[in-house]
């Protein structure tokens, strides 16, 4: 196994293992700030 392969395996383990241990926080709804003009109204 060459050095590139060793590093690639380590990177993959870090990522895949990371997904197993990462916590998932309860959803917190972020307020979206609307800071725009009113949409233009077009007659149908």
């Amino acid at each position: 196994m060459d050095a590139t392969t060793v590093i690639a395996v380590i990177c993959s383990v870090v990522v895949f293992a990371g997904w197993l241990v990462l916590p998932h926080s309860a959803t917190t709804v972020k307020p979206v700030v609307i800071e725009e003009r009113e949409p233009v109204r077009v007659s149908a």
């Binding site: 590139t4 990522v15 997904w19 003009r37 949409p39 077009v42």
Partner: protein, 412 residues
């Protein structure tokens, strides 16, 4: 030289794939801005497709790939595609018509200034954007393309490896984006109110289309339909996927939730980073490059936020830093087992290649900074770079183009 129909078909199809990337970029960027600026943002990409398509056939291709002048720039012998016909050019692509190569390269020249537009989104005057893009393509992109890819270019002669545009496309656009963000200044209200992307679905769709087009970008750069194109295709997909996984992991750890837009941005970062390496590294190298892209580009965004630079859509972090990482990684992981016409990198016993890559990175950064700064200052003398404050408040869609992106239907 005999034209190969398979190679020609692949390069023409790849040119079409790369063409699609520019409007895809418009949708990727368009989803990230506020709804009052979405049309103007998409227009940046769409307009550049038109502008540079004409610039390229008139003089851009000649400056980038024409007969070498002092290892710095191409001559004017190919202006208006004079002497650029259907006979293959042995220096660039010996099995396809010269015009097919020219067309493929045109699409790279098109998307590069379009990438910069993400930095000055939501505040640049359209007329200034047009003038800047034309000058930037001529005085920044064309020379760097000649240095790296042109026959006789000094970085080409030095042995710099850039398969599909890590230095030429991504470092040049990403670094120029940083300069543009600094020169234009921050958007109104920057740092006081969080600006949310107005349409995350558009962002993901744009990223997916970019990913699709990138197969033409990288695998098409083999300029033939064969093993090298296949290898480039495989490593491109692998790096994009690995970078998206890595970005999501890092952002999950940092922000406690896996971000959808983060996944899209991570994939783009991986595609950027694998671009210079795609014809030189194996699939293990691609995994490392994708992993690195996911980490360094995410960290670059945190740095950009901390120093309060308003690079609106993080062009510098994704393209400038991702391209730099990719160009350096090419000097680490390149192997002649993939491309016998190239060179080994540091990890395969050739430390010189890493040094050559650093020279190419430094030259691309340097010229992009100097050239972009000078062009912006020049343009500002002719037409103000920024819109007025009231125009910025009502949005660029109405103030610059007189068209809203979304209209509501009046039931009456």
């Amino acid at each position: 030289m005999k034209i190969d129909s398979g190679d020609t078909a692949w390069v023409l199809a790849s040119a079409a794939l790369v063409m699609l990337m520019t409007p895809a970029l418009g949708f990727f960027y368009g989803g990230l801005v506020r709804r009052k600026n979405v049309l103007s943002t998409i227009m940046h990409s769409f307009f550049i497709l038109c502008l540079i398509s004409v610039q390229w056939v008139l003089w851009g291709y000649s400056l980038a790939f024409g007969p070498d002048k002092g290892h710095i720039i191409g001559g004017l012998e190919w202006v208006g595609l004079n002497n650029v016909g259907f006979t293959p050019n042995a220096d660039y692509a010996p099995t396809i018509p010269h015009q097919a190569f020219m067309l493929f390269q045109m699409m790279f020249a098109v998307i590069t200034p379009a990438l910069i537009s993400g930095a000055f989104a939501e505040r640049q005057r359209f007329k200034a954007f047009v003038l800047f893009s034309l000058l930037w393509a001529t005085f920044v992109y064309d020379p760097i393309a000649h240095w790296v890819w042109g026959a006789g270019g000094w970085l080409h002669n030095l042995g710099a490896l850039d398969f599909a545009g890590g230095t030429v496309v991504h470092i040049s656009s990403g670094v120029s984006a940083l300069v543009a963000a600094l020169v234009l200044g921050r958007r109104l209200g920057f740092g006081k109110r969080k600006v949310e992307p107005h349409d995350a679905t558009m962002v993901v769709l744009g990223a997916a289309l970019l990913w699709f087009g990138w197969f033409g970008f990288n695998a098409g750069s083999a300029l033939g339909a064969g093993a090298l194109a296949t290898s480039a295709f495989v490593v491109t997909n692998t790096a994009a996927a690995m970078a998206a996984l890595t970005w999501m992991t890092v952002s999950w750890w940092h922000k406690k939730q896996p971000s959808v837009i983060g996944a899209a941005a991570g994939a783009v970062a991986g595609l950027v980073a694998i671009t210079p390496a795609s014809g030189f590294v194996n699939v293990m190298g691609a995994i490392v490059i994708g992993f690195g892209a996911g980490v360094v580009c995410y960290l670059a965004i945190q740095l950009r936020e901390r120093i309060k630079v308003d690079d609106a859509l993080d062009v510098w972090a994704v393209h400038g830093i991702g391209g730099t990482w990719g160009a350096l990684a090419t000097g680490l992981f390149a192997t002649v087992a993939i491309n016998s016409a190239a060179a080994n990198g540091l990890f395969y016993g050739n430390p010189r290649q890493a040094l050559v890559q650093l020279v190419a990175i430094g030259a691309s950064w340097g010229w992009s900074i100097v050239g972009t700064f000078a062009i912006l200052k020049f343009v500002n003398l002719i037409v103000p770079l920024r819109v007025h404050e009231d125009e910025e408040v009502i949005g660029l869609d109405l103030s610059q183009h007189g068209e809203p992106a979304y209209a509501t239907i009046n039931a009456n």
